[in-house]
């Protein structure tokens, strides 16, 4: 008897939930009932955690990233909108799908949502830690090793690190496929410079899409002392964690 009552009550609550979850009719795609979305409050917590992170983080930065689940989907035409009761703010996405996240008390208090002009299930919202791009394009090898460790330590502390024993193996510089050809060199303490190989792949080691031309600076293949020099600024610098 009680199981039947539980089933009836559950069915009623589910019906109510379905009604409450309905949103406005589709217009520009952002407000469609099946539009991909994420709670601004939950994203805010992730961003604030990085702000309050107490360990070294001077080589790294934190973004909010939109990633296609389907490799073929791509980021062409994808737009991200912050929608609140009294606000509507478009957040520009860079080539890697990253947005500078606005830390807005008003959006938090309004329990706003982050919405895509794409259907739910096609894209994933996630925090993204990457290495800061230097304006002069000159990176000390020791700094890149430290930057990778900072990324790994933050991922571990925030519970985002992949399971198992992970180590920093290098950093990857990613460039748009239709941009100028990447030119990344390693210059040793003797002044000799060697150009690093260009591949194709994702901007980050956990990204399986093949959307960029990438140059991987592998720690094991190069001396600990020296410099990595980029002729043009990359879209992103990611840590290679294996």
């Amino acid at each position: 008897m009680s199981i039947r009552r539980l089933a009836i009550a559950t069915a009623l609550l589910l019906a109510a939930a379905g009604a409450f979850a309905q949103t406005a009719p589709a217009d520009d795609g952002f407000s469609a009932a099946d539009a991909a979305w994420m709670s601004y409050r939950d994203a805010y917590r992730q961003m604030l955690r990085f702000e309050k992170y107490g360990k070294p983080k001077h080589f790294i930065q934190h973004h909010f990233q939109v990633v296609p689940k389907d490799k073929a989907a791509g980021m062409e035409g994808v737009r991200l909108l912050l929608q609140g009761r009294t606000m509507q703010l478009e957040l520009p996405l860079d080539a890697a799908g990253r947005a500078v996240f606005p830390m807005s008390k008003a959006a938090y208090d309004e329990n706003a949502r982050l919405a895509l002009n794409r259907k739910s299930g096609q894209y994933v919202f996630q925090p993204r830690v990457s290495i800061v791009v230097r304006a002069d394009g000159v990176y000390e090898a020791a700094d890149l090793r430290a930057a990778c460790e900072q990324v790994l330590n933050y991922l571990r502390d925030s519970g985002q690190a992949p399971s198992g024993e992970r180590k920093c193996a290098g950093v990857v510089f990613s460039y748009a496929r239709n941009g100028v050809e990447p030119n990344v060199r390693f210059r040793g303490v003797d002044g000799q410079a060697s150009r690093l190989r260009i591949d194709e792949g994702g901007a980050f080691s956990d990204d399986s899409t093949v959307a960029f031309r990438t140059v991987t600076y592998s720690f094991a293949e190069w001396p600990e002392k020296g410099q990595v020099i980029t002729q043009t600024p990359p879209v992103a610098i990611g840590a290679v964690i294996r």
Partner: protein, 274 residues
């Protein structure tokens, strides 16, 4: 998304085990609140064939200054150290009436694994009043979505000298479909002799044909495993469900008042976030 950061593992319970929501990460002066209704189905008494289904309130308020109200638990986060949470905690021990039913049941909050449910002989069991208990909590994060939680509360029982210490390990799973959040919590609850005597003991004056005198000592009261599944329907609406299996342990299990060691509790409900 890092599920650990989602502070909404809502449970529906009048549990005496106090756990705490994650430390607040919000703008100064803001708050994060959930209010909802659901149903809970649990054995009326452990070992009884009939189950009881009743409505259940779902309450969780958090403020930016660290104060939180989660079900029957009121506390405050004091730690500024990442990965570590601690603070004072007030809770209500629900007690039980002569039929063995917990008082104040049906008010729930966050991360409240159920405790064992007992079968009582309504004619023989004295009433135990609901009591305000006081203590604190300490939680520690270990990465990979793993959190160790603990709470210590004193003041349960009619003589207000019952002490409960709960320790649990919680794993939050990543990589699930969007808007689905699942965590599993496994823990134990230790009780002092005063608590055990009051809830599981039988005094000579309470003995009857069906009850022998029993005087338990301090020990592990129960071990429990809880699975929480939350489904976000929108930024405002959340569907929360919970399944708990609790096993009475040590001298609580040996009590003549305990007729069934394993207990299953199912809860589900809808909450509005505002």
């Amino acid at each position: 998304m890092n599920k650990r950061l989602l502070p909404v593992l809502l449970a529906l319970s009048g549990s005496a085990i106090a756990q705490t929501p994650s430390a607040p990460l919000m703008p100064d002066g803001s708050r994060d609140m959930y209010l909802g209704l659901g149903v809970v189905s649990a054995p009326r008494y452990a070992g009884a064939d009939d189950r009881r289904t009743r409505p259940s309130a779902l309450v969780q308020f958090q403020w930016s200054n660290g104060v939180f109200l989660s079900g029957l638990n009121l506390g405050m986060h004091l730690s500024s150290t990442p990965g570590l949470e601690y603070g004072p905690l007030l809770s209500v021990d629900p007690g039980r009436d002569a039929s063995g039913t917990r008082k104040l049941s049906g008010i729930g909050g966050v991360d409240l694994p159920a405790y064992g449910i007992l079968k009582f002989n309504p004619d023989d069991i004295p009433d135990i009043g609901a009591r305000l208990t006081a203590g604190g909590f300490v939680n520690r994060y270990f990465g990979d979505g793993v959190r160790l939680t603990s709470s210590l509360l004193h003041g349960a029982g009619d003589d207000r000298r019952g002490l409960l210490w709960n320790v649990a390990l919680q794993k939050t799973f990543a990589g699930l479909p969007a808007h689905h959040h699942v965590s599993v919590t496994a823990g134990v609850t230790w009780a002092n002799r005063r608590y055990m005597q009051e809830y599981f003991g039988v005094l000579p004056s309470q003995t009857s044909a069906s009850l022998r005198t029993y005087s338990p000592s301090a020990g592990v009261r129960d071990a429990h495993v809880t699975v929480n599944w939350n489904r976000e329907l929108s930024p405002q609406w959340l569907w929360a469900s919970q399944l708990t299996v609790a096993r009475m342990m040590s001298e609580a299990a040996d009590s003549p008042l305990t007729f069934r060691r394993n207990n299953l509790t199912v809860r589900t409900g809808l909450a509005y976030r505002f």
